[in-house]
Symmetry: C2
Subunit: 231 residues, 2 copies
């Protein structure tokens, strides 16, 4: 029997001030969001102003460190990246957003989006040594499961040029909006169409590099299939 993970606990920052019915405290929903999303937005404060940059991430939801009983989110980038240089020792915000649809109401006011988002706050720590290699594999496998084992391992130069940060998933809020339009009762009879336009991210057929004559491997085909395809 596996232990029940603790529910997401509120702090003044993560306790939602509005739309409390959209708050989700089930860690399984957090895990699902972190599994499905491929990108996040990292917010740091530089010279007193916010800087928000898109980046990839990976989540390790097993306990891996004393400060992260609920798992760790890994970020990486160039050692010269302004956002990563600024991050250790200060509070950062990592936001992961999945948009599931446009909610088209009879009034502009009730237009909305169906979405699932996770917002994590914390002070990231640099990851080094064996743990860094593990995190780099997770970062690749998060995009395409099974890929890291097929690659040329990181060189000394690669490692020196790459910063990996770990953010404990301790202070996290999860918000979900799903389902139908919520119009004012008196608007329902108006001659205005209302409904949801579902949205999703899909893949197209993999494009082999110009200098590669190998067939598309199963792990890439499987990834495209899992995302669904459109052409």
């Amino acid at each position: 029997m596996s232990a029940q993970p603790a529910p997401l606990s509120g702090t003044p920052r993560t306790r939602l001030r509005r739309s409390r019915e959209r708050t989700v405290t089930d860690r399984a929903v957090l895990a699902e969001i972190l599994d499905e999303a491929m990108f996040c937005h990292l917010g740091v404060v530089v010279d007193g102003a916010p800087v928000v940059l898109p980046t990839t991430f990976a989540a390790d939801l097993g306990p891996d460190a004393p400060d992260a009983p609920h798992g760790t989110l890994y970020l990486h980038g160039s050692v010269a990246a302004r956002s990563l240089v600024a991050a250790p020792g200060q509070t950062v915000c990592v936001t992961v957003t999945l948009v599931d649809g446009l909610v088209l109401a009879r009034s502009g006011f009730h237009h909305s989006a169906n979405y699932r988002s996770a917002v994590a706050y914390g002070t990231p720590r640099p990851v080094t040594g064996e743990a860094k290699l593990h995190a780099l594999d997770l970062l690749v496998d998060h995009l395409v499961p099974g890929r890291s084992g097929t690659l040329r391992p990181p060189s000394r130069k690669d490692l020196a040029a790459t910063t990996v940060l770990a953010l404990p998933l301790t202070e996290v809020s999860v918000k979900v909006r799903s389902g139908d339009v919520n119009d004012e009762t008196e608007d329902v009879g108006l001659p205005v169409w209302a409904g949801v336009l579902p949205l999703r991210t899909v893949a197209s057929a993999p494009e082999t590099s110009a200098d590669c004559d190998l067939p598309v491997p199963d792990h890439v085909r499987d990834r495209a299939k899992a995302l669904g395809t459109a052409d």
Copy 2:
């Protein structure tokens, strides 16, 4: 003949420190990103820490105010939203990201993403009166062009509950990565598949509200068609 818009100009904040070859100074690319993306991430500083939240936006690229000769980005939300309450009078960061694909190299180090992103900094001003109504229409039409004219107009109550902010698109950086994998020359011969897995956001068939018996209107069908569909 239309005047040539000024190129995007660098400030210490928007001048990219790395990957300068990815910097784009053509305002047409900015316009394209703002047109195609439906959501942005708004970063503000609250109690010294960054807060990053997903939200919708609209862009008005015509000159609409003396401080915005290059256009304005509109944001809106509840008057109670922490991020919007904090925003006026302080510097905010709005990041718009379109992910076009996963770049799968022969080493983890050269894994990347094809993407187009715009990062705008500035001090937003509250929008009131007629300009607020205009901005609210733009916010709806940005999601589904042509929809605002079909809706019940905003009520006094709607307007009182909604904050609209305008951010002049003055300090903006645009970054684009596209095309094939960039592997180390010595890695090209390795028996590792390399290539790009293209990604895009598509719609599924519109879902009419349970309490609506009207047919799906053309503006919604057109939007789904423009996005492309997958089922």
